[in-house]
Symmetry: C2
Subunit: 321 residues, 2 copies
Amino acid sequence: MHDFKTLVTQFEGRIAQIPALSRSPESLYEPCRYLLGLGGKRIRPVLCLMAAELFAEISEDAWQAALAIELFHNFTLVHDDIMDHAPLRRGQATIHARNGLTAGILCGDVLCIAAYQHLGQIRNTLPTILAIFNQTALEVCEGQQLDMDFESKTQVSVADYVNMIGLKTSVLLAASLKIGAIIGGTSAGNAEKIYELGKALGIAFQLQDDYLDAFGDPIKTGKQAGGDILANKKTFLYLHALENCDEATRTSLHQLNNLPDNEKVAATTALFRATGADRACTHAVVTYSEKAFAALDDLACTANRKAPLKKLVESLLHRQF
Amino acid sequence: MHDFKTLVTQFEGRIAQIPALSRSPESLYEPCRYLLGLGGKRIRPVLCLMAAELFAEISEDAWQAALAIELFHNFTLVHDDIMDHAPLRRGQATIHARNGLTAGILCGDVLCIAAYQHLGQIRNTLPTILAIFNQTALEVCEGQQLDMDFESKTQVSVADYVNMIGLKTSVLLAASLKIGAIIGGTSAGNAEKIYELGKALGIAFQLQDDYLDAFGDPIKTGKQAGGDILANKKTFLYLHALENCDEATRTSLHQLNNLPDNEKVAATTALFRATGADRACTHAVVTYSEKAFAALDDLACTANRKAPLKKLVESLLHRQF
């Protein structure tokens, strides 16, 4: 059994040897190497590897799937950063900011294709894995499109929002686990359970993010307090507050835009508390977390095999409130 | 045996039934349907189908590969149009011009993923087909990156240019034929020959395009005469003229930018003739065409099976000079 840190270290060695990244021209592949070299937590590929190890030794197929998942994730990051006009990623310049729009688009494209190169190396159950991967890939794009659509949409419900983050964030976590489990040779029933685990984990994690952005300790989160509020993001907290307040409060919520930054954050978080959005959010986090842990408990495999995955899920869900 | 027109009609029926295109949200998939509905000659998928029919009945695998190839081609068109700032495609608004940059990027992304969904339906030799497809897909992106790089590069040779169009245009034609032939069950030797046919065909076709842009009859080509010249494109003609003229002529070629449009086109084409670039271009077209026909003759299959493909290649290469 391997723990998170050991798997990340081994996975970084694999990343450094991806054949596509040493192709030419440099103008196309150097930015790809730059992005992958910025790191990131590698949660998705490790979930895939850990899911495989629930049922068997980690096979070469599992490594190839893990590489495909991380390459695909990075492809979505590059294109999302363009759409979000984001200047920074992991504290460093985004590809489009550093190398221009053309490089941003094309680097994303080749990272996506490179993901399929690694999928193509899978020797067992390739058609099954490919079908799950493709379905997930479409859903991730659909989630991003919905997220973009929400910016200009006036009527977005909390349910719409949870559906969107489910697609944009959770399905890839869920598919990472499911693909790993299938490569490990598990049953169809277990594969569905571990998918549900990933789906609930992803939603709980994102809702936690929403909560911590408004109410977390900036020293612990490492982020500006109220960043989502200042960017007028339609988060769970904002949408829940809108759905659960009277007309006067709704109007005042819109008028907070005219306040200076620190006052806007203070007034908005006060309003989140007054409407019960904060409690609804922590309640939803607890509900989805419990769902994730229940799915994990429900998986048919020995307890010692589950230990590393359980520890990782706990560390992801027990962040500082 | 099926001719070009019959296969295009049948293929259009398949395009209309692509499952991914009826997914939601509409903001993502309506632009995809719009693009695929603009038509296009469907040369690549038909080449795939004809190559399969050289050796066997057209199987469901061949149809799936043809759909994958057309979806991939349209993915590259959407992203290329963004990078080229192109307002029009087939006389209609491009996706980014019609639906914005976000839709342009994401529609391209889902068309690429949808291509892999159809590849994933292939029942025989899937790993082989996937490997050819992935290698080709990376090369197409590399060709586009080189094309973009050439815009700002001062030293581009005729050889660099032919390498670039080989990647950007020819490898997908070549892979379409090779994938079809492999699905048809041909030998490795035939697969290589038909790949060479496609590669030469693509280069000959693109060089013809360069020639016709400067010297073709606008009534026959349907394009503005000298469009490439006015856009300062580094075509075969331009690069050959630069490589084969003295310093004084080179300086005067750069100074033509200051002339009014019609004078610039007239002076530049005169210079192409004076330096022999026009003859070098037609010579190269003939050389690559002969290479394509030789590869076709060399394919081991019955002559009657070859007839439709031969007719298509002839129609592509015997355009009006």
